[in-house]
């Protein structure tokens, strides 16, 4: 039997980004002892990379804004595949979540009358994003981090121990959610520094692990984004929905090669940046889809007028939702009108003075100057699509964030599915983290409280042994057949990224996705032979070998769901089915683990590890449907739904 330390807490949060920290604050404020487990140092989470802002209809810049307008924009952005209840809660609660940050010390940029400033962004009808230059995510993380420290200071006064009620286990990784029958009983973890295993026993576990971008080669995501929470949920018996929808942000850096994929904030376009091809043409006017025709400008003149007088002009097409802009850039490059390094030009230098650019976009100025020798106050940037965000995630109850079918398991933020439908609007992620982070923390606390002393779900020794054996497997990989060479986890990871990028990327077609599934089966097999050197202390090769299980699982979900959905919508574009299909609007593709009892994520051969089924979405509540004009709804809903 494996000897591991067991610790007892009420609520465990996996992940310390915006959603995880907001959940932890809520659970602790409900009076519960809360543990946060995160792969990196406290305060380094991927949320710091968010640049543009937090969407919330505070109406500080345009009084016409309110939750109904935000709800409409969110549904349009997601092409009506969003879970309407989540979109409703999000739009209603986002302003309170932003204002609350100020009471914890956040310092947003201000309007002239001293309120929180709000900026324009793609798909948002009014200036709506609360921001701090182009480093809003950093402000969000730092504010939540400092709020947690302040709660720990309060606890110290009471108990003499900063960590008595709220503790961060930093640089620790969860490899399994543990269960007692159907109910969650804790998590199995290892400490990166020492390689030691430990178990945290708790009746409530909140997954807040972010996304899956590290399964793609060109990505704006950090090494942490290996789909851990998605995989943990699957392995614990939960299901994932909407996994075919992956957002390719239209503007990532394309040169030099080593920075390819690093994000260029949408604020560049929100603040007036224009996209041009190598002929110097502002090509976005050619790519306004029918569903958005009435809302976007048809000429450069009209578009330029909008910046000064938005009431009398329509919006520039550069501010279409991200999926539209990414596809347009991809088409321009494919048609041979790209830049020398295979992107398009994004220019902000013609509209704003150097001083204004440096003040409004300081990180972008710094990033291009330091990494690409480009001065964005004088020269255009070269940009192209980069894998940025997964709309798919854990199938949750919209109000509580509890995973359907797994009592005690919750998910919030990017790892949960439904909120953004087929495509997320910029700025709606930070608000999502706060709104649903708080909700998950609240309901996780209530769930934990519902157990009387001594009645909590238990962690069995046998389960710990299984988890420990699985985590140690990379040190004793299966022997390779005679004549074969041992596998290197880094090589397998690189091939997985290449495969997903090329075969299930921004533009998809049937036979390529089928090939991706074959390639995943082959990589799964090879991963069983991937061994690592050295020992368990801070060994990145070992960590990657463990993370490969998760990436292989979520990549299969993406490929399988994408192959099945025979239409194009949001973050899922098919060459062979280029149109949006109203029948598909009502359908969620649900992924579950085929064999929940399999001890290893590897194996299962070409048949794969994931089962897929199609499920009807609940009809949109009548009063929410009434927020839209009938002419608009006709584009999305079936005749049957419209007459119901």
């Amino acid at each position: 039997m494996t000897q591991v330390e067991r610790r007892q807490w009420d609520v465990v949060i996996v992940g310390a980004g915006g959603a995880g920290l907001r959940a932890a604050i809520e659970a602790r404020e409900q009076g519960l002892r809360t543990a946060i487990i995160c792969k990196s140092l406290f305060g380094k989470a991927h949320t710091v990379m968010a640049e543009g802002g937090i969407a919330a209809s505070m109406g500080n810049v345009n009084e016409g804004d309110n939750w109904q307008v935000h709800f409409r924009d969110t549904m349009r952005g997601g092409k009506f595949l969003n879970h309407w209840r989540m979109a409703e809660l999000h739009a209603k609660e986002a302003p309170d979540r932003v204002w609350e940050l100020e009471t914890w010390g956040a310092l947003f940029d201000r309007t002239k009358d001293g309120r929180i400033s709000q900026r324009n962004f793609g798909g948002h009808e009014y200036p709506r994003l609360a921001h701090v230059g182009d480093r809003t995510g950093l402000e969000l993380i730092r504010t939540l981090q400092q709020k947690i420290v302040s709660l720990q200071q309060e606890d110290f006064k009471e108990t003499g121990d900063h960590e008595s009620h709220l503790k961060v286990f930093q640089e620790c990784t969860v490899t399994r959610v543990l269960k007692d029958g159907d109910r969650v009983s804790g998590v199995f973890c290892y400490e990166r520094e020492t390689g030691r295993f430990f178990v945290v026993e708790a009746p409530s576990v909140v997954l807040a692990t972010g996304g899956i971008g590290k399964s793609f080669k060109v990505t704006s995501n950090s090494w942490e984004y290996t789909g851990d929470g998605h995989a943990l949920a699957l392995l614990a018996g939960a299901s994932l929905i909407n996994m075919e929808f992956v957002q390719f942000h239209p503007t990532g850096m394309v040169w030099p090669p080593s920075v390819k994929g690093i994000l260029v904030t949408e604020s560049v376009r929100g603040d007036g940046g224009v996209l041009r091809n190598s002929d110097g043409k502002r090509f976005m006017f050619d790519y306004v889809p029918d569903v958005f025709k009435e809302k976007y400008a048809e000429s450069e003149e009209e578009a330029d007028g909008w910046y000064e007088d938005p009431a009398k002009h329509r919006r520039p097409p550069e501010l279409l939702p991200r999926d539209e802009v990414a596809r347009a850039i991809n088409s321009e490059v494919k048609a041979g009108r790209g830049t020398p390094h295979g992107g398009v030009f994004l220019d902000v230098s013609t509209r704003m003075s150097a001083d204004v650019i440096k003040r409004r976009l300081p990180s972008m100025h710094h990033q291009f100057k330091e990494l690409a020798d480009v001065d964005i106050t004088a020269q255009p940037m070269e940009v192209g699509p980069t894998c940025h965000y997964v709309m798919g995630g854990v199938d949750v109850d919209p109000d509580t964030g509890e995973a359907l079918g797994v009592p005690g398991l919750f998910a919030a933020g990017e790892v949960s599915g439904g909120m953004h439908g087929s495509n997320r609007l910029g700025g709606n992620s930070l608000s999502d983290l706060l709104v649903f982070g708080r909700r998950a923390g609240l309901y996780a606390a209530r769930h934990a409280e519902s157990f009387a002393a001594g009645e909590r779900p238990l962690v069995a020794d046998a389960e710990i042994d299984r988890a420990a054996a699985e985590a140690l497997r990379p040190f004793t990989p299966e022997e390779v057949a005679e004549g074969g060479t041992p596998e290197n986890p880094y090589t397998i990871h690189q091939q997985l990224q290449q495969s997903m990028n090329d075969l299930v990327g921004i533009i998809r077609r049937d036979e390529e996705m089928a090939r991706a599934l074959e390639s995943l089966a082959e990589l799964r097999e090879r991963a069983r032979h991937a061994g690592v050197e050295g020992h368990r202390q801070f060994n990145p090769g070992w960590h990657l070998a463990i993370d490969l299980r998760n990436m292989l699982l979520v990549s299969e979900c993406v490929a399988r769901a994408a192959l099945n959905r025979t239409e194009s919508r949001g973050g899922h574009t098919r060459d062979d089915y280029p149109a949006m299909d109203r029948e598909w609007r009502r359908a969620n593709l649900v992924c579950t683990l085929t064999d929940p009892d399999a001890t290893s994520g590897a194996g299962a051969g070409a048949a794969g590890q994931i089962s897929l089924r199609r499920r009807e979405m609940p009809p949109i509540r009548a009063d929410l449907l009434e927020l839209f004009e009938k002419e608009e709804l006709i584009k999305y809903l079936t005749d049957e739904e419209l007459t119901a």
């Binding site: 990196s40 140092l41 406290f42 380094k44 991927h46 990379m49 309170d96 204002w99 609350e100 009471t103 914890w104 010390g105 310092l107 947003f108 940029d109 201000r110 001293g114 701090v132 230059g133 480093r135 950093l138 402000e139 730092r142 400092q146 420290v149 200071q153 900063h162 060109v218 090494w223 394309v254 040169w255 090669p257 080593s258 920075v259 390819k260 088409s331 321009e332 494919k334 790209g338 710094h366 330091e370 990494l371 192209g384 880094y490 090589t491 690189q494 290449q498 495969s499 990028n501 090329d502 990327g505 921004i506 533009i507 390529e512 390639s519 050295g534 060994n539 990145p540 090769g541 070992w542």
Partner: protein, 274 residues
């Protein structure tokens, strides 16, 4: 593996081809753990536009699978990949290989002011402990969420300090603690003295109304007096924050005012009696 990279317009050239601009560089990387260690030599490929972190990653993928290094964003925004390159504290992800000659030997070592965990990873818990010692933002009474009003010019001073990515390079380079372990208990370091300044300059921080004088505590509890404004912290800050000029010197001036201003002294006496 066959690919269809042409379809996805921005994909790379096929793997395996080595571009003509690449060359082999000589690296020396410190490897070891709490029991000791030393510099290890590597010859490793470098391509156009790469940063030092790319080279460390290539070493991991090809020569030293268990080489320990911290990193996250690779864009200078998270402050994880702090180390010393040729003795200078820097972010690995923001140090271009083009700043070196092709024939240079590039030496990469862990942050010197903190205990080594393994290879390039150090134990930075000192910083988290210091963070806990600074009293948090004190919300003003009588102002609810949504009622805060502040002018842009008034928030800008603190906003500069909130650009801090907590890379701890300033903490590493500061000579008060760099080779003086004995000063650590009494000295918060530039990062957290700057945090005191940030809160002190926050237009709505109500610490003073609640009986906390941040200026005095900077001096008495966080070791501001140890700082003799050599500006080493400012020089290494990857965010270009003027730590010394804009945070530490003003804080020193304010603290000095507090100490010697008889009116402030009297006011404090009276408040304490209430």
């Amino acid at each position: 593996m066959s690919t269809t990279s042409a379809e996805n317009g921005t994909a790379d050239a096929p793997a395996g081809e080595r571009p003509s601009t690449s060359y082999d560089a000589h690296f020396r990387v410190w490897r070891g753990d709490t029991d000791g260690g030393g510099l290890e030599d590597f010859t490793v490929e470098v391509n156009e536009g790469e940063v030092v972190l790319d080279i460390i990653h290539r070493l991991q993928a090809t020569q030293a699978g268990d080489l320990a290094v911290r990193w996250n964003c690779k864009a200078g925004k998270c402050g994880s990949c702090s180390a010393e390159i040729n003795g200078r504290p820097r972010l690995l992800c923001m140090t271009r290989m083009s700043v070196f000659e092709r024939t240079d030997t590039i030496t990469v070592t862990p942050l010197r002011a903190f205990p080594v965990v393994r290879d390039l990873v150090t134990d930075v818990s000192f910083n988290y402990q210091k963070a806990r010692e600074v009293p948090s933002f004190a919300a003003p009474e009588g102002l609810g969420p949504g009622e805060y009003r502040m002018q842009q010019e008034d928030v800008e001073r603190s906003q500069e300090f909130r650009k801090c990515i907590e890379c701890f390079l300033c903490q590493d380079t500061c000579h008060v603690v760099r080779d003086h372990e004995e000063n650590k208990p009494a000295f918060a370091g530039p990062r957290f003295l700057m945090r005191v300044a940030e809160l002190d300059m926050h237009p709505l921080d109500a610490a003073e109304e609640q009986g906390l004088d941040r200026k005095t505590t900077a001096q008495d509890e966080h070791g501001l007096g140890y700082c003799n404004i050599t500006k080493c912290c400012t020089e290494v800050c990857p965010e270009g924050i003027k730590i010394t000029d804009n945070a530490l010197i003003p804080l020193k001036e304010r603290a000095a005012d507090r100490k010697y201003d008889p009116l402030v002294w009297l006011g404090n006496k009276i408040r304490r009696r209430e």
